[in-house]
């Protein structure tokens, strides 16, 4: 187990290093955004004096390196600066939105992950049957349709035609948890449809990949029934690739939801990011990007840990 601990510490260190590199990239990319930030904030009518004053106030007259270091040291303690639009601390602006995004992602994940894995196991068991083929075609269709299209189709049937669920996912302070689940059902379902296929196909493939192994033949020759061969003998050895795909999709649920948020007018971090980019609110843009990057790195780290913990060779060294 000591080896596992060391491995984890090393991965964590590498993750932090990656995050540092990414932070430099984000900062550099925002620097490259065309146009003068002061000009964009104050508009065309601003005089040279007010522009210069704002630049001093924002620290834009300092060199990029100095600004990067002061931004990074602020970010380390949770201070991402002040939004240029409304002078609120960026942390406050983002906190609410990020919580909303996390809620939606969790909602979708709680449905999508078990469904995908169960479906994957079922189609592996019934491989090459009609059920397998139908499931394949359906999931392929859902994975290849753009999410805004899926979203509008769902709105058309579940909201416009039947009126079962609201088409707009607006939030307010006074709704109950159940109401919340109902209002956000359609965006969550859209995301489920987008990610389920990927995870299900990987589950199926990694299980079927193992079915030719001698220990699977052995299990069958010991008289184990088909479902047991899959769940007890194949699945425990198939976790590593499955966990990786699940982690990638969870990351997508958090960082790739801009279009779904736009379609359902959901106040998440994706919309915030789009707004911030169009309005040159660079402290918010930087903070959002850094959060996305951290999410990705953290989830991949979790996948690595999961893969290690499901491998008996690493858990029980000789």
């Amino acid at each position: 187990m000591r080896d596992v601990g060391r491995l984890l510490l090393m991965r964590l260190g590498l993750g932090l290093l990656t995050l540092l590199v990414v932070s430099a990239l984000i900062f550099g990319a925002v620097e490259l955004l065309p146009g003068d930030i002061a000009q964009a904030v104050l508009g065309q009518g601003a005089t040279e004096e007010t522009l210069a004053e704002l630049r001093t106030e924002l620290g834009l007259d300092r060199t990029a390196i100095v600004r990067y270091v002061s931004w990074l040291s602020g970010a380390l303690v949770g201070d991402f600066g002040v939004s240029l639009l409304n002078q609120q601390p960026v942390t406050d602006v983002i906190a609410v939105r990020f919580a909303n995004t996390l809620f939606l992602a969790t909602y979708a994940a709680v449905i999508a992950v078990p469904v995908a894995i169960l479906l994957g196991i079922t189609v592996a068991l019934l491989r090459n049957s009609i059920f397998d083929r139908v499931a394949n075609v359906l999931t392929l269709t859902s994975i290849s349709s753009p999410e805004f299209f899926l979203g509008y189709i769902l709105i058309l049937y579940f909201s416009v035609h039947t009126g079962w669920f609201p088409s707009i996912a607006t939030l307010s302070e006074d709704i109950t948890f159940l109401e919340l689940l109902e209002r956000t059902f359609l965006p969550a379902l859209t995301m489920v449809l987008v990610v389920v296929a990927h995870m299900m196909r990987m589950t199926r493939a990694s299980i079927i990949n193992l079915l030719a192994s001698p220990y699977i033949e052995m299990a069958r020759l010991k008289g184990a029934p088909g479902w047991k061969v899959i769940t007890r003998h194949a699945l425990p050895n198939a976790w590593a690739p499955i966990i990786n795909v699940v982690a990638l999709n969870l990351a997508y649920l958090i960082t790739g939801v801009v279009l779904v948020e736009v379609v359902f007018v959901y106040p998440g971090i994706g919309q915030l990011l789009v707004d911030a980019v169009t309005k040159r609110d660079f402290p918010v843009v930087q903070a959002c990007c850094l959060i996305f990057a951290a999410t990705f790195i953290l989830l991949n780290l979790a996948a690595d840990v999961g893969a290690i913990l499901t491998n008996p060779r690493l858990r029980h060294p000789k």
Binding site: P214, Y215, K222, K228, P236, P312
Partner: protein, 549 residues
């Protein structure tokens, strides 16, 4: 052996088909077999004879892509070809058990041994989990596994190959089946480990009066294990007789040819009398993987035109020595000399000509040849790289090489490796190494994946090439029969050290180093009483593990 009872298994006119290239091919053409309770039948034949397929069919099982297309399989009064799949499945593990060739690959890496052991008895409600665990420990003890009360709680990768093979035999006994199919259970093991498994298998089959089908290509092994031997060839039965009759008076030509395999032995050459430098000299080499020391003070010479066999169990450092010579693993200490000149330790700093001089032939021709590249290009590549040949000159050279390995150039030049048989692939591997025009070739277990007849063909070819081209061979093997037939000098390795070396004839005559003696005496002989005698000589508790450490 124990009293033989009624008929347990009766197979009549068994036909099995396999699906390939969108057609069904018959691979077993009407085989009959009768097995009584408590009887052990040896099924022997080369690869492709259908041994495993027939063994599995006795369980009512056909691999994916195969089907039982005709005949009847009657097990204990139940016709397996017509009963439902569910009924057939319920026989497996409970009434008929299976012991696979590679226990390391056939135990599920994700579960502890004992959990895999108890699976079938618990599923069939023969025993409760705790009872079954207790039973497992007793079986482990009976099979003389070390720490029988503890070993079951380990994962497969924490247990050695020979121990796993015995644990798998214990697992097969978990429901006290009437019949066990042993599918080459010792083929992947060292000779010293093989003995303990053979002894364990024979013991347990005797004690529980279990019938068994013992599948193997090793005649000497089957002589120890079986009451009756059945010989198969390409899905047809050749002949069947009780073991002693079969060994003494085989009727069919094919059987006689199988029995005669071990006769090839070429004349032993002596070192040149002048003191010319050896082609390759290994001097005091130490090597390590990471912090694990795997070689210690290894020294030996290989002279021109001679074959040095390096023998030892797996993990003794044979292949690591080869890696040091080729520069793939730079040694920690010591030197590699080529014709008296020191070679740079790493292949990266060796010249093209130095690299050309030493070539390798690998154990698994299957994985050593790129399946997507034509034979002509596989052989042509080193000729082009080292010899700078192009166009017609290159084609002519490849044709010449194909002629040398006795494959017709017009037939084989454009074909791909998967279209070739195992022996043909190994020949291509030989041609590829010859294409570089080396003076020294390392043969790493080149015949151990091949049938004996095919292996003998390869050995004869290597011998002829050695005489024609004055090649020096380093022959890595764990098979002492191969050593006997082709070596001039022998180096015996154990745990990274050379324990004994010298001329072959001296090596096979006493007195031996105790380890050499153990290796030599562990090679099964055709005499059916060999194992019994050996076990008596060594004493019951001094087999295998105990003897090697």
């Amino acid at each position: 052996m124990a009293n033989k009872g009624n008929i347990l298994l009766k197979i009549e006119g068994l036909r099995i088909e396999a699906y390939a290239e969108e057609k069904w091919f018959e691979i077993v053409h009407g085989v009959d077999l009768v097995l009584r309770r408590g009887e052990v039948m040896g099924l022997i034949g080369e690869s492709g004879a259908g041994k495993s397929t027939i063994g599995l069919a006795a369980m009512g099982f056909a691999r994916d892509g195969c089907r039982i297309s005709g005949g009847s399989i009657e097990f204990d009064g139940l016709e397996l070809t017509t009963t439902s799949e569910v009924d057939r499945r319920r026989l497996r593990g409970s009434k008929i058990a299976y012991v696979a060739q590679s226990a390391a690959a056939s135990f599920n890496p994700a579960h502890k041994l004992i959990d895999q052991h108890t699976e079938a008895p618990v599923q069939y409600r023969i025993r409760k989990r705790t009872e079954s665990q207790e039973d497992a420990m007793e079986l482990y003890e009976r099979l003389r596994l070390p720490n029988p009360r503890e070993i079951g709680f380990r994962y497969p990768h924490q247990v050695s190959g020979g121990q796993l093979q015995r644990a798998m035999t214990a697992m097969a006994m978990s429901c006290r089946p009437d019949l066990i199919i042993f599918d080459e259970p010792t083929t992947a093991l060292d000779v010293t480990t093989q003995i303990e498994v053979l002894a364990a298998v024979r013991d347990i089959v005797d004690q529980f009066n279990t019938a068994a089908i013992y599948i193997t290509h090793d005649l000497a092994v089957v002589a120890q294990m079986a009451d009756v031997i059945k010989v198969l060839l390409k899905g047809d039965q050749v002949e069947e007789a009780d073991t002693r009759t079969m060994l003494n008076k085989p009727q069919e030509e094919y059987t006689k040819s199988l029995w005669a395999v071990r006769s090839f032995q070429r004349e032993q050459k002596l070192r040149p009398s002048d003191d010319s430098a050896p082609v390759v000299a290994v001097e005091d080499v130490d090597a390590a993987y990471g912090t694990v020391r795997v070689l210690e003070d290894v020294s030996f010479d290989v002279h021109a035109g001679m074959t040095v066999a390096v023998v030892g169990e797996s993990g003794s450092g044979k292949s690591t020595t080869a890696r040091c010579i080729t520069g793939l693993l730079p040694p920690l200490k010591g030197r590699i000399l080529f014709r008296g000149e020191e070679l740079p330790p790493s292949y990266l700093s060796r010249s093209k000509d130095q690299l050309r001089q030493a070539q390798m032939i690998y154990q698994m021709a299957d994985t050593a040849l790129n399946p997507k590249i034509r034979i002509g290009d596989i052989i042509g590549r080193p000729a082009q790289f080292y010899g700078g040949l192009k166009g017609t000159a290159l084609k002519n050279r490849v044709d010449e090489l194909l002629d040398m390995i006795e494959l017709d150039p017009s037939q084989f030049y454009g074909r791909y490796p998967p279209e070739l048989s195992g022996g043909q692939k190994q020949r291509v591997g030989i041609a590829r190494s010859l294409a570089a025009e080396p003076t020294f070739i390392i043969c790493d277990e080149v015949t151990s994946a091949l049938d004996q007849l095919v292996a003998e063909g390869i050995l004869k070819l290597l011998d002829r090439l050695q005489r024609d081209l004055d090649l020096a061979y380093m022959f890595i093997t764990h098979d002492l029969a191969t050593v006997r037939s082709i070596a001039d000098e022998v180096v015996v390795m154990k745990q990274g050290k050379v324990v004994e070396q010298g001329a072959k004839d001296a090596m096979f005559k006493p007195p031996h180093h105790p380890y050499t003696d153990l290796l030599l005496s562990s090679v099964p002989e055709m005499d059916p009483d060999w194992l019994t005698t050996l076990l008596e000589e060594r004493g019951v508790d001094n087999v295998g593990d105990a003897a090697t450490t």
